[in-house]
Amino acid sequence: MKLSIRKHLLAATTALVALAPAAFADSVLDKYTPVTSQDLLNPSKSDWIHWRGDYANTGFSHLDQINKETVKDLELAWAWPMADVGIQETAPLVRDGVMFLQTSNGIVEALDAQSGDLLWTYRHVLPELPKSWSYQANQARRQKNSIALAGDKVILTTPDAKLVALEAKTGKVAWEKQALDWEKGYSYTIGGLVVENTIITAISGCSIAGTAGGCYIMAHNLENGEEIWRFNTIADPKNPKQGDSWGGVPEENRWGGTPWATGSYDPELGLTFWGVGMPGPYAELIRGSGDGDVLYTNATIALDVKTGELKWYFTHLPRDNWDLDAPFERIMVDQEIDGKMHKMLVSIPGKTGVAFALDRETGKYLWSKETVKQNVITKVDADGTVHVNEDLIPTAVGQPVHACTSVSGGKLWQAAAYSPLTKTLFAPLTEACNDVTPTQSEFTAGNAVGSVKFGPRVLPEGIDKAGLFEALSINPVQGDHVWQSRQRETPTSSVLATAGGLVFGGDAARYVKAFDQETGEVLWKQRLNAPIGGYPMSYEIDGEQYLVVPTGYSNSASSISSAFPETPLPNGNGNSIFVFKLPKN
């Protein structure tokens, strides 16, 4: 018997719920001003209008009222529960005293950033998925980061692969656009990057069986959502090396290549930089790609922002067999040395935790540096060629290998921050390994194509502390350890560096901490209701600096909680934000 799946599944796709309690009072929204291209290039230090604060993805706040001397006096200003559950990965934005708070499942709230009062709510209505599409259903609970602000709009990417433009003052829908087909498995888990009249986004869900052959970075028109260009990370007809690197696997049997962290943008070069995730299936034995590098998986790609044309790529982990993808934030670092400006792209791009610096004009390799224990990358040549440990490549179905780091990292989505003040990169990392065993199983709609069995995450031999806050000094020649702050519980939030000489981050033990950028000394800590999550950020209103700390459900905590059983995780979800400031006088 056949019947129309579209009728069944499309019954409840998109609707709008916008509530506006602000209509009852003088509202901070009345003073909201459109975000211009100039604002996006040079954000006011009082606002926070990019997911990492600027186009460079630094995660650095120029505010310094909360500093090494005053941080001990921080007190709670207000707190707010998130509108829904899911992994807590929110990246709040603030503009003109309005906080835009995105939650899993496609919800956006506008709050008065001074008082914590709700101004409006937008709740995206998602299609009902068949019960068996469990991997795809989980995508809605793992919104990776931000919304974007542009003009008088808030740009939302949704788990059902739509772009939605909301009116910033009301939360009403201005337009929406179905970017890709959610029935195949496409789903947004990250927010967009707005460059002039263009929204640049990257799709997720490329490990879901129905999405074979295409994983995209795309540009859409800011005014109406019309597509301008797209770049396919796993099939590039212009580069014969790319096809060869998949060892004869046709496009319809390729998966992965998800660029699941929002890219950075260099206006001088006209380039946007994105990280690309692992290939699918995870093991080359099942993938059928032989010893090929499977381009552009686990690479940094530099695209012309106007055309989507590939300018260069650099592979951080070729021939991935362990789901150790390298899609994380790429940070632009400029340093002038002896009159010469060095334009670098610095990151801990992947789960292996190995840091890399590239010349972002050419893609030329500058240096790399190990952080956590890993046994997958054996060597990086002077020209940047990365070698992998072939002893860890299974040659038979059911053959386990013990890989460090684990599928949960090392590094994961929690973003590092770069401080121009101390020329240091700060990163939240985890010491972990796991067994990886290829399996052969039939793919089904709405589910992933990994085809490996992962063992439990365990500590590397000889290490009893899962958590590492790492500080790496950065220059064009090398990266080096400034300090390493080790602890039993794993870090679970992104970190925020500030002009106050501090770096904020939090962990599975529910502590948010302020580290001294220079020494790693913990100058302030506060225990909250749940693992610290999302992207801590800072803003200023009426001369007062605020610090926002998200908390809530953390996969990073859950996956390695057996490494610190003395600190049980909460049973509750608890997704919230806590907002701190200094006492008045």
Binding site: I5, S132, N253, E442, P456, P568, N573
Partner: protein
């Protein structure tokens, strides 16, 4: 069992009638755990796992535990036990005790279509108990049964591409 075609765009439907046929066929396959284990496992699962993995193993706060691909990825009852007995539940990892973890494995298998038998699931034998083998006959029936409970419309199976190596004989690891 109806033939399943995996060309692109093919839609395969399982009806309630087919579900009944499959359910009766499923009883032929004893799966290495007892009904008592599965029943106790259900209780333990609902108490310690369902909050995130869903009462029907559907997720979505944590990964779903239902489906032949999930069974295939865990490979054996021992593979699933090895993971959960160390890592789960996150608030008390590894602290439920061997018997309870085995019971939870039995419940997950039963929910995926395996049928209880007379022999109890024991750790020593779990590594040799293939989850796909134990569940595949009952899985389609179980899926239809679950769907029937949610409105009764037939379940469509949307065909998706398979791995490039699917259907090819690959080297098997000799333990």
């Amino acid at each position: 069992m109806p033939a399943i075609s995996f060309g692109r765009g093919t839609v395969h439907a399982i009806t309630a009638a087919a579900a009944m046929t499959l359910a009766s066929a499923g009883s032929l396959f004893a799966s290495g755990f007892t009904a008592e284990q599965a029943e106790a496992g259900k209780k333990a699962y609902m108490s310690s796992c369902a909050q995130c993995h869903g009462a029907q193993l559907e997720g979505p706060e944590a990964p779903g535990l239902f489906g032949q691909d999930v069974m295939g990825n865990w490979d054996t009852a021992g593979g699933l036990f090895d993971f959960i007995s160390v890592a789960m539940p996150p608030a008390a990892p590894g602290q439920l005790g061997e018997d309870v973890y085995l019971q939870i494995v039995a419940h997950i298998m039963a929910e995926n279509g395996a049928t209880a038998g007379e022999a109890a699931l024991q750790l020593a034998a779990a590594a040799d108990l293939s989850l796909v083998e134990a569940t595949k006959e009952g899985a389609a029936a179980k899926e239809a049964e679950r769907h029937a409970a949610h409105g009764g419309e037939p379940v469509e199976v949307i065909a998706v591409p398979q791995a490039y190596t699917w259907g090819k004989e690959l080297p098997q690891y000799n333990k």
